[in-house]
Symmetry: C2
Subunit: 437 residues, 2 copies
């Protein structure tokens, strides 16, 4: 039986998952690729930390260099995370003619062009199916399964930490900080949670989704980004009363040759499938011009699901090696940005949609009239209003759902409303997605 | 720009969708495959029928033979449906070295081995991504995206006609025959609806899913099959009260080396994602031993979604031709049955699960005691009972949800209950899936 040697860099959560999968599913893998995948070694800087998965001593290496220089090793799996020097390491491996598999979304979102150019220049390959939505093969779906479509929109729940926090705020009535603490205790959130809760991680994934779905190489700073840390339990409760759930969505949506690229908390109708995605699960909704609406759901992180995604890439490459075929199947969609329709970015100011606005105001007559007056002045018409029960007899929340309005006008109105003396806290503004199935 | 010539057999709904897609997404297709797909001709026996999509006269052929014999034509797209001689035609095309793309699930379910052997023998290819769940790339997902997993279970809503009828019965309170008539009027059901409503179409799709997911080539008659035509509105209403929806599911589920293969109406918990799949939509839930639960959702039929699936296969093949690479990527998972764990079929009698039973009985004392007595005798314990309001003062429905029970025992008990004089109609039996997310 033919053998393909792989080198693994990083023995963290996902790296351990890969070793576990190679062991537990060995028979299945061999049957499917018609050969054997064997582990040449695992490089990690720290072998003292306790691990969940055991590894023979002879496979434990201190230095990735050893794997990259080993002519027997054909495939390098990079799961070391986003540490300094990882980009250079990947480029080194590509230079050495290795086929590289990585789950490093931050790296690809920031340095995609540089890394893909290196792969092309050295006639090598880089696969990255695990970089978005973990076990859900969404990149493969965009690249292959839906490749005959012009993609019209992508709406993704791609950060399990945020989805867990929002689910707990919704279902258990927790406030943001309690839900975050619970997520940290369960290991779903880091001690410094900013990359997740501020939407940074989701924006990295959106950049990769946009590259594959729309053929644009979008610098990260062009993606509009708001996190979930300012949401209150009141917002989730009010959304629920109005027939919505709040989700952190990564949205890419084309119309008239312009692409919206934005990550923010979003009200989604409770009967939509995305609204039913609970806890740490991920889901990506893709609308194509022929396939119509589709949804892909599963676990977006964790040892086992991410190992599943990494290994499906490794198996594709290994099968090509075993059959003596070149790889390169994902070119050109994966590597080169293909933008035959010359899509451009839509400025955020030009966004049109309904909005959720929540104000804390002094409980006195005429406040709603003032707010409604400012909205009217900016051409924003009101769909519905909830004035909640008084809490302390002094202040009261007012919740407004607008009809379709222009973001620029909303922003102007919000600034004016925030300047009213009767408005006690900055207005909460949440965008609403009504076009979902 | 390199050109790949394709021949299309069949200008029905999906054939027209393919021509439309080739026109409307031409620029995208060319950019993605680095070449041009051009239509050599379309064969159909009837050119008088009105069509939705136009076609130049010079491309209209009477005879598929002409395309199969044309050395310029590299790819044959077979969308002629399941007419006599179609198998031979496909095998002819494979013999002539053509790469074949088909959506013909009935053919593959019945003659998969013969067709795949012919492809192998003549060193050709047959792709069939559109044969299950239309636009949802579920076969590609099983073959590639989840290929590192041992699949544990598949639960599919794979027949849009049935799902439409059940949705209307549930939501509009229609009875079965009114919902069927509505589906026929909307073009979702054939005038002879048996292939859909009796679960035949779903069993064909399950056979293909089992081949790819579990590596078993299962003769169709080994798949247990029950349709939806005996369901009454009362069943949907009662299920709803108990927290369930009724769906026609195609189920393949492994435990202890034995595989269940069955198509039947199923109670699914209302909070599961499958319960939210409404109307003509399809969805396939796949549980893998590493990826965990996943779900793939979209339109399972229709001109445009099916064309999307057909063309993603055509693009893969065309790209290989343009790059001068052999195809063959889906071997061996697609063609050869790979069953390293020597899975065997679980006899239906050995199925274990909870059941929904509904009886129409005479409205007199002691009836429930008699039924409960028979269940008890067969080791079936009762979870809950609903005795519905009296309709005519003479007969009354009794609905029972059992705890986990053995199918063999249930069947024995049902026979005995049906023999009771107080039971007016044969018992309704619906299996319950509790293990879904």
């Amino acid at each position: 039986m033919k053998e393909v040697k792989v080198g693994l860099i990083g023995f963290g959560t996902v790296g351990q998952g890969v070793v576990k999968l190679l062991r537990e599913n060995r028979e299945d893998l061999s049957a499917r690729i018609g050969g054997k995948i064997s582990l040449a070694g695992v490089a990690d800087t720290d072998w003292k930390r306790p691990r969940k998965v055991s590894l023979e001593k002879k496979l434990r290496l201190k230095n990735a260099e050893q794997l990259i220089r080993d002519p027997q090793v054909k495939i390098i799996i990079e799961l070391a995370g986003n540490f300094p020097g990882v980009k250079e390491m990947i480029i080194d491996a590509l230079k050495a003619g290795k086929w590289v598999v990585t789950a490093n979304k931050a790296l690809l979102a920031k340095f995609g062009d540089e890394i893909f150019s290196a792969a092309k220049k050295h006639n090598s390959e880089i696969y990255f199916g695990a970089s978005v939505a973990g076990g859900i093969p969404i990149l493969r779906v965009l690249r292959e399964g839906l490749c005959a479509n012009r993609v019209q929109s992508i709406y993704g729940i791609v950060n399990g930490t945020c989805n867990y926090i929002l689910t707990r705020m919704q279902e258990a009535g927790l406030d943001y900080s309690s839900a975050l603490r619970e997520a940290q205790e369960k290991g779903y959130a880091e001690s410094n949670p900013d990359a997740d809760v501020e939407g940074i991680d989701a924006s990295h994934k959106l950049a990769i989704l946009i590259r594959l779905g729309f053929g644009l190489n979008l610098p990260l700073e062009k993606i509009f980004r708001r996190g979930i840390s300012r949401l209150s339990h009141l917002d989730l409760q009010a959304a629920s009363e109005l027939g919505y759930r709040i989700k952190l969505l990564a949205i890419a949506r084309e119309s008239n040759g312009l692409l919206e690229a934005r990550v923010h908390p979003t009200l989604v109708p409770e009967e939509s499938l995305l609204a039913s995605v609970r806890g740490v699960y991920n889901a990506v909704y893709v609308q194509g011009n022929f396939v119509g609406p589709t949804l892909f759901y599963g676990q977006g992180a964790g040892m086992d699901p991410t190992a599943s995604a990494v290994m499906s890439d490794v198996m594709e490459l290994a099968r090509n090696l075993i059959q003596g075929r070149p790889a390169g199947r994902i070119k050109p969609e994966g590597y080169e940005t293909l933008n035959p329709h010359r899509l451009k970015l839509r400025p955020m100011d030009d966004l049109i949609g309904p909005y959720y606005l929540r104000a804390w105001v002094k409980d006195q007559p005429g406040v709603l009239a003032k707010i409604a007056g400012i909205l009217g002045k900016h051409m924003i018409s009101i769909n519905s209003v909830i004035q909640r029960e008084v809490r302390d007899g002094k202040s009261v929340p007012i919740i407004i759902i607008t009809h379709q309005a222009l973001e620029k006008n909303i922003q102007k109105a919000v600034r004016e409303i925030n300047n009213l003396k009767v408005v006690l806290n900055p207005l909460q503004l949440i965008r609403i997605a009504t076009e979902l199935e």
